[in-house]
């Protein structure tokens, strides 16, 4: 039986190879390569443009290699004239992201634990309420949100941005965590109970340590979501000293409209954390998104 299957498989492979001559494979490669170049062009334009002078950018925009290489754009953003702006905005972004991700992952773990391991009336209805958050455009909420934040006196406060961002990230976080918490065997919980564990102790000492990969995944997703948030900070923050990086880059590009090379340098440094983060956590990001969406 097994030999038969493997012969069949081998025959199928041969068929496939016969059906796809190397011309098709080469064509596929060329298509992929062209798409890859399309992805790289804007990124390289920004990175290399930051090493040019405005004169170079205007005289020959297609030139790839800066001639000569200029470092002042990057150094002025990192250590020079614009360093104050950049580091303040980076710090603001970091504070918002840390608070928002901390709150959303903590609250979502509590909720997902209850949704996963307790049976009670209204559970599915309440869970559906959270799922609804994935279904409608979140921009709908922003005008009343602005009024609300103003009324509770949190406008112009980083906390006033972090809390709504945490709230917007809750649905996806809960939807991903729940099946993971559910998959932890019942026997483990019974054993913990016999050993005298309370619900909280089981959650804290058994469930959370076992769920570390899932917690890492949702933290990474929430970090990317909050780090790139633009609309909420735009309406909820008042002044330049509170801006997060995306707002800062927008403002910088208007303020230094004539100094494109410096704008490019600022932009590149502003997206560097996201790229570094991606290089470090790509696997979890992809697995989280596919788990979240393929199940949804």
């Amino acid at each position: 039986m097994t030999t038969q299957t493997s012969t069949l498989t081998r025959r199928a492979r041969r068929l496939r190879i016969a059906g796809s001559p190397s011309i098709a494979a080469t064509a596929a490669w060329i298509v992929l390569l062209m798409v890859a170049i399309t992805i790289l062009v804007p990124i390289l334009y920004a990175v290399l443009g930051g090493f040019k002078t405005n004169g170079q950018l205007v005289a020959n925009p297609v030139a790839i290699v800066p001639d000569p290489w200029v470092f002042t754009n990057y150094t002025s953003v990192l250590f020079g004239d614009n360093a104050g702006t950049f580091w303040r905005e980076a710090a603001n972004s970091l504070v918002v992201a840390v608070v928002a991700v901390g709150v959303t992952v903590t609250f979502a773990s509590f909720a997902a634990f209850v949704f996963a391991r307790f049976a009670f009336r209204g559970r599915e209805a309440m869970f559906t309420l959270f799922v609804l958050g994935l279904l409608f455009p979140s921009a709908v909420a922003i005008l009343p949100l602005y009024i609300l934040i103003r009324e509770i006196g949190l406008n112009g406060n980083l906390l006033g941005v972090a809390l709504p961002e945490a709230a917007f990230a809750l649905p996806l976080t809960i939807v991903i965590l729940r099946p993971f918490f559910r998959s932890i065997p019942r026997e483990l919980e019974d054993a913990a109970r016999i050993d005298g564990c309370s619900s909280f102790a089981f959650f804290w000492r058994v469930l959370l340590p076992l769920a570390r990969p899932a917690l890492a995944t949702v933290s990474i997703l929430a970090t990317v979501m909050t780090w790139n948030q633009f609309l909420l900070p735009l309406i909820l923050l008042n002044g330049a000293d509170q801006w997060t990086l995306p707002l800062g880059v927008m403002n910088f590009s208007t303020q230094y409209g004539q100094d494109q090379a410096r704008v490019l340098a600022f932009t590149v440094i502003a997206i560097l954390p996201a790229i570094a983060f991606y290089a470090f956590a790509e696997r979890q990001l992809v697995s989280g998104l596919t788990a979240g969406s393929v199940k949804g």
Binding site: L163, L231, P246, A274, S293
Partner: protein, 310 residues
């Protein structure tokens, strides 16, 4: 006496379970109700008033804000633009992503690098991406001079300033940022299909195209539907990229519903009018969500029926 003791212990255990459920749910539920659900309901309330957001909410005008919005050319352009992006995304971006997912669903050298690179734009901020593209598309900048030096000077356009072109320019950039996301989703769907099924169809004499149409496509149906749904919701609430690149201009040519709502609420301080636009945006989202639910539910019942019949 002997029976009363376990009963009271049972009761106290029940109470403690309920307390646990309540305490664990409370933080997430409170945060979510206050910052997500309540604002959506309030938008519906505000939309019935003429209100600048500061004075008490007293000037009730019924559905007048809706009538004004739906009769307003700028807002109608916004609706048309959002729907254009929905149609273009479904017609071009998702098929393109699916095509690339199919290409990447075989083993060959460099596959991991391509996947890593194609997904990269997804993690970049939409606003910052928009700024880089704005600089590249300025008259005389990279795109124009690349076309000129390739001998295609006649193709040079006012990419963001031309009223008929601007939405297509934006669509290309949106696709640049999001095709990798859909590709990764669809690739995960494709990888979930056992090779044996496709191989069996090949052995039975099906052509490659037939295998794709009648075997692969139905099997990644659920993933494809998620991808389509996320793409539609994203297209409906388009804001960041448009705001930094064109601000909705020239004139209203690249207006979207979210841009229009933002301008009404914050630039013109017409909170009631802006809220009416938010509710209209919500209704579009609702139609999409209901259609999605219905489609999925119908498919599921169909599956159940065929299963019980077979």
């Amino acid at each position: 006496m002997a029976a009363a003791l376990p009963r009271s212990r049972e009761r106290s255990r029940q109470i403690s379970t309920r307390l646990t459920i309540g305490l664990f749910l409370l933080p997430a539920l409170a945060l979510y109700l206050v910052f997500v659900i309540a604002p959506v309901i309030q938008a519906a309330h505000f939309s019935l008033y003429k209100w600048n957001g500061l004075q008490p909410l007293t000037d009730f005008i019924g559905i007048k804000n809706y009538q004004v919005a739906l009769a307003n050319d700028a807002f109608r352009t916004a609706i048309a633009n959002n729907l254009l992006i929905v149609v273009l995304s479904l017609g071009l971006q998702i098929p393109f992503s699916l095509g690339l997912a199919v290409l990447l669903n075989r083993r060959f050298p460099g596959r991991a690098v391509f996947r890593l690179l194609f997904f990269l734009p997804y993690v970049l901020s939409e606003a910052i991406t928009g700024i880089v593209f704005r600089l590249m598309l300025q008259p005389g900048s990279l795109v124009d001079s690349a076309l000129t030096s390739a001998g295609l000077g006649g193709w040079v356009q006012d990419w963001m300033g031309d009223e008929t072109l601007v939405m297509f320019t934006l669509f290309v950039i949106i696709s640049w940022k999001y095709f990798g996301f859909h590709m990764v989703l669809l690739l995960a769907g494709l990888q979930g299909i056992p090779h044996e099924i496709e191989e069996a169809a090949l052995i039975d004499g099906a052509g490659r195209r037939q295998v794709f149409r009648y075997v692969t496509l139905p099997l990644i149906g659920p993933t494809l539907r998620v991808s389509v749904f996320l793409s539609m919701i994203g297209s409906l609430q388009l804001f960041d990229m448009v705001w930094v690149m064109t601000g909705g201009g020239p004139l209203h040519a690249s207006n979207t519903m979210a841009i229009s709502m933002f301008k009404a609420g914050f630039k013109a301080t017409q909170m009631g009018y802006g809220s009416a636009q938010a509710v209209i945006l919500f209704l579009f989202g609702l139609i999409v969500a209901l259609a999605y639910q219905r489609f999925v539910l119908r498919r599921d019942t169909e599956g159940a029926l065929t299963m019980s019949a077979g």
